[in-house]
Symmetry: C2
Subunit: 409 residues, 2 copies
């Protein structure tokens, strides 16, 4: 396939087993590769009432005005404003009180409820406080202006007004507005179907943390986990799982490193193409990527903190892109001052987990240590660019928060 040949030469696969990485690609190059494979999937129609959280595939404009007709803005009596002219507590005016009717004649009033369409002829809604019921009808004790208490047709929204643009993630208020406009279905980007292949934790009795980790991350980013293949290496399922149909992306966890049994890169090269292996990222540097059966495959390290980091910086970019979301990191951010030095290696993007103590960032473990427990204890992480050897105390940094500030800890 011509597009595969177009991959940069630096990304050519090398067997790094028992040799180590000698030439890792930059995070920027890895993201450029991902960008070429992360175009949003096709649109599908979903019921508006099940649409919250989905991503608009196309721009949506108002199919008609909102409200569709003049409506009462409050409870009261629909009247012709001119009939109330001069009314006051000292000189009340009488109106004939009638029930609900499509048309209101001069001299008449009809009770209306907030949100209900106005009868034809009415142009104002008199509040209950400005009228008293009398045996003969209604005593109006206050005048009202034309249009008072009325929501005009199109007041909220004119027909054709642009509402939502492509890429908008539908919030509760969005689905409500579409429903109010009478739209029953919306075109949204199909959710990416993701197969998770856990190459298998190494060692007797080892437990898999990567399957639950990646499942939760994919769900957070709007993907649909179609399958979790466990202990794939020892079951001989590593190769077969890469090119199997039914997925828009495959994430492999583990066996990406430089050991003799690190079969994932070789399996990907055999099933399709290993485009890049080894990224200047810490932790997570043994990540790789390629294509099998026209589907992008991400190789993520098996060590859970490295797997988490490589997901956040690489795989998530792909999952979010396929789903039509903003590809960049989805975390809420906060600018803070560094309290204790954040260490990084020059030439490598370091992802440093930090805690916020009195509003300042402190590292939790080093970039390579602490494991998952460091991530659990941290409030977020700082991405340190490759040219820097860290951030000194007092420097301002952007923390990507695990939980945004309104959330419980």
């Amino acid at each position: 396939m011509p597009s595969r040949r177009a991959e940069p030469a630096r990304g050519a696969p090398r067997d790094v087993r028992e040799r180590g990485f000698t030439d890792r690609v930059s995070l920027q190059e890895a993201l450029a590769w991902l960008d070429r494979h992360a175009a949003p999937l096709a649109a599908e129609l979903v019921a508006v009432r099940a649409g919250a959280g989905r991503v608009c595939a196309i721009a949506i404009a108002a199919p008609g005005p909102l409200p569709p007709a003049d409506r009462a803005a409050d409870d009261g009596y629909a009247v012709r404003a001119s009939d109330t002219l001069g009314a006051s507590p000292y000189s009340p005016l009488s109106l004939a009180l009638r029930g609900a009717a499509p048309t209101l004649r001069p001299g008449e009033a009809a009770p209306v409820h907030c949100g209900a369409p106005l009868p034809a002829g009415a142009d104002a809604v008199l509040p209950f406080s400005a009228a008293e019921r009398a045996p003969a009808g209604l005593e109006v004790v206050g005048a009202i202006a034309d249009g008072a208490g009325v929501l005009r047709a199109g007041h909220e929204l004119a027909a054709g007004a642009p509402l939502l643009r492509p890429g908008r993630r539908l919030g509760p208020e969005d689905v409500a507005l579409l429903a109010a406009l009478g739209l029953e279905r919306a075109a949204v980007v199909r959710r990416p179907r993701v197969r998770i292949v856990v190459a298998g934790p190494k060692g007797e009795g080892a437990r898999d943390a990567d399957g639950p980790l990646l499942s939760a991350l994919v769900a957070r980013d709007g993907g649909e986990v179609v399958e979790v293949v466990e202990r794939a290496a020892e079951r001989g399922l590593l190769g077969p799982s890469l090119a199997a149909p039914g997925a828009d992306a495959v994430l492999v966890a583990g066996r990406t490193g430089t050991g003799a049994d690190d079969e994932a890169p070789r399996a990907l090269a055999a099933a399709g193409e290993l485009s890049l292996h080894g990224v200047a990222l810490r932790p997570g540097g043994s990540a790789g990527m390629g294509v099998a059966g026209a589907v992008p495959v991400l190789l993520l390290p098996g060590e859970p903190l490295a797997c988490l980091t490589a997901y956040e910086l690489l795989a998530g970019h792909l999952v979010r892109g396929l789903g039509g979301r903003e590809r960049s990191l989805p975390h809420a951010v906060r600018e803070v001052e560094v309290a204790r030095k954040l260490v990084s290696a020059v030439g490598c993007v370091d992802v440093c987990r930090v805690r916020l103590v009195a509003g300042r960032a402190e590292p939790v473990g080093g970039a390579d240590e602490g494991g998952l427990a460091a991530a659990v204890r941290a409030d977020g992480f700082v991405v340190i660019p490759a040219p820097l050897e860290g951030h000194a105390p007092g420097a301002r940094v952007t923390v990507r928060l695990h939980r945004h500030e309104g959330e419980a800890p």
Copy 2:
């Protein structure tokens, strides 16, 4: 029931139909009522791998150390560090190279892969770059210190270390850590089952926006929508839906105002108790609350923006509390300067939708106008305390964001 009698006298129900509200309770009083009915539900056990997003019901400590045994921190050769003492490129030392074995004897080296348990006797992992394979075994060209390249048992986490506290919403890294520790199930707060009762949009051909709106909001706040009863008033289902079993909370949308057909408060009083009706909140002031069949029932206005606002400030407090979450507003916040005056009524908490333009807040519609379209166009909202008549340009305010800053618009 004694607890009902304990409700404050000010909250005693009054029939406000065709009279209007004369005495609205403060938002603070309404929240105090909700707090008395929003204790977290009982715990249930869920599979850890399905636990992301759920709320810890109890504190969780590490059941054992992590890693459970010494492990290789990198790919390389497991050795006894003392066997490498003095090795250099100019005076390499030879070790016998053996395959995987549970125990390493002096003078031996065995290949290990990152994350694998160390053989007994080994105390360091020599990187590939510090050794060369030779016909007789391994040539060590660099010395290594005891413990280098090794993750000690308990290095990440000691047995018994506190991990997660009650109320913690499980993130991807949390479920991964629990899985790594060998926990298969976690005790989480049961998700609140919520029945949504749409009293029914008023008027011919009116469309229901409140059902989709409330469904999305309840899901966002961790609740489970067990039923959406549509057009409940005209189908005679308003009363029966309030006390039906199977829900932990009931949200009624519509028919809460002062019109003759505003039957929701009367229905609640008949089915149980209407504790409060009318809150000094704009929009959303016709909200009410009470209890039916021991289940809290929230009455929310039918106009969708008022419904949204009353959900956010009142009903959400209940849903989040029942589910063990932080009860306060869940939105990310941002402190910004006011660009154009935000108007409010003294004595009433006003919720003003705002856009951020060049980092400053501008109102979108007034508190009572604009409807849902204002919420869709807005970036968030500002809650203006009752004593204020608004915020002047230049004032600093807290904006609750519909979408936090890392998210797509």
